[in-house]
């Protein structure tokens, strides 16, 4: 995860992607929430959630997001219907993936975006059944138990 600011267009695209998910998530966890814009917007659209960020005072929870070795996201097991990480790096996500699986309910969705389109080979190796959008670039799918 890099520390870049999340672009508003990216938040809008993420909202659209989350609203298109079936079943619709009711509780979204945003790792690297920045100014909490995504969760804040979701709350006004029939969803709730928590934003976690290691550096932002505006996030709901200030804490690690699992992108470094051994970090634990300050959220309980099996809470989220959808876990979002925008601006991920493949290296950071390699560390964070176990934490994403831990905090997600079985069958939960994930929605990831990268600074650039990740290689299909990288996604295929790690994110079974993921859909890669080349337009955004978002990657999403379902977390299996």
């Amino acid at each position: 995860m890099n520390s870049r600011a999340i672009k508003s267009g990216e938040v809008v695209e993420a909202i659209l992607a989350i609203e298109a998910m079936r079943p619709q998530p009711r509780f979204v966890l945003h790792l690297g929430a920045g100014d909490n814009a995504l969760v804040s917007a979701l709350r006004r659209r029939r969803c709730d959630g928590l934003g976690v960020d290691p550096a932002s005072e505006e996030a709901d929870v200030r804490g690690p997001i699992g992108t470094n070795q051994g970090e634990r996201v300050p959220v309980g097991d099996g809470v989220a219907d959808c876990v979002v990480m925008l601006g991920a790096t493949t290296a950071g996500l390699d560390h964070a993936w176990a934490e994403i699986r831990r905090v997600a309910r079985p069958g939960a969705h994930y929605l990831l975006s990268f600074g650039r389109v990740p290689t299909s080979a990288w996604c295929a190796a790690r994110l079974t059944g993921a859909t890669v959008s080349r337009r955004h670039p978002f990657v999403w799918g379902t977390i299996h138990a």
Partner: protein
């Protein structure tokens, strides 16, 4: 089962007009389903029933009139049975009869959802109740914020009740939390725009504590009086934000130490709040088909 066609059409029409909620605050049921009740009461009046001894100087039966809604806090529900109620402290501090009353919608910090209640045995003795908050009827839960910033108080996605003991707020005030902040935040979120404070004495003394029997040590009384001063400063700072939001707060306690809000006589507040629903209603003819042209 076939649904009523008119309901389906109206539902679709309503959904097409749906806009994002004006607030990010979401309330959770005891089964952890969440809902937005932003603007639920659409600009109406509410009485906020606090716990000061001046509460007993008013004819509170007037709060049962048509058109009037009250929100209680803490054990003020032992003096007046409100429609809505809220707290911030642990639930076992509040009389269990209120918790069990289905006529009172209780809006409670989500932290307390699994907390046990207490039952009074008499002579100052208590035992733990077999019931928890989530077992009670009419419970909705909200998320609190441990920070206070007067500029964002009405716009935050959580309900502020002041600052954690070690933290300093936007006015330089350290600590100081109160259920009254949470109650006003909730009333604004629910859409009330005229709020009348009852029992907001903002002065405590050893012989003048609450509208109900309750012991307070000298230290606790000093603490409360310091808290009132800090709250008054916060409310003064909030006034421009309240004005921008069209959120008007009046104080029905003539001798109150709270100076931020204009005073109003309790009876006048009752008249204002009940005006919309106070006219006599002839009942004849309401079940006949309407003859007026529908717009």
């Amino acid at each position: 089962m076939r649904e009523h066609a008119g309901d389906i059409a109206a539902l679709q029409s309503g959904i097409r007009q749906r806009r994002p909620a004006p607030s990010g605050v979401r309330l959770w049921t005891a089964d952890f389903d969440h809902v937005s009740l932003a603007n639920f009461y659409r600009g109406r009046h509410a009485f906020l029933v606090l716990s000061g001894p001046s509460l007993l100087t008013h004819d509170l039966s007037k709060l049962s009139r048509r058109g009037i809604l009250s929100m209680g806090v803490n054990n003020s529900w032992t003096v007046h049975r409100p429609t809505l109620w809220t707290c911030v402290d642990t639930p076992d501090r509040f009389v269990d009869v209120g918790w069990k009353d289905p006529g009172i919608t209780k809006i409670v910090p989500v932290e307390h959802w699994n907390s046990r209640l207490r039952v009074a045995l008499g002579e100052g003795r208590f035992r733990q109740s077999q019931f928890r908050v989530a077992d009670m009827p009419g419970v909705l839960m909200y998320r609190r914020s441990d920070t206070f910033d007067h500029r964002s108080f009405l716009r935050a996605d959580t309900i502020s009740w002041g600052c954690a003991t070690s933290a300093t707020d936007s006015l330089g005030i350290k600590g100081k939390r109160s259920v009254m902040l949470a109650a006003l935040g909730l009333l604004h979120y629910l859409g009330f725009r005229q709020v009348y404070l009852v029992g907001a004495d903002f002065r405590m003394a050893s012989d003048c504590k609450y509208a109900f029997d309750e012991h307070r040590s000298d230290q606790a009384i000093r603490h409360n009086n310091v808290l009132y001063e800090s709250l008054d400063r916060r409310f003064h700072a909030l006034l421009p934000e309240f004005a921008k939001a069209g959120f008007n707060v009046y104080n029905c306690c003539a001798e109150s130490g709270l100076t931020a809000f204009p005073k109003i006589a309790f009876d006048e507040a009752v008249e204002r709040a009940s005006a919309e629903c106070s006219k006599p209603v002839p009942t004849d003819g309401w079940y006949e088909p309407a003859k007026e042209k529908k717009r």
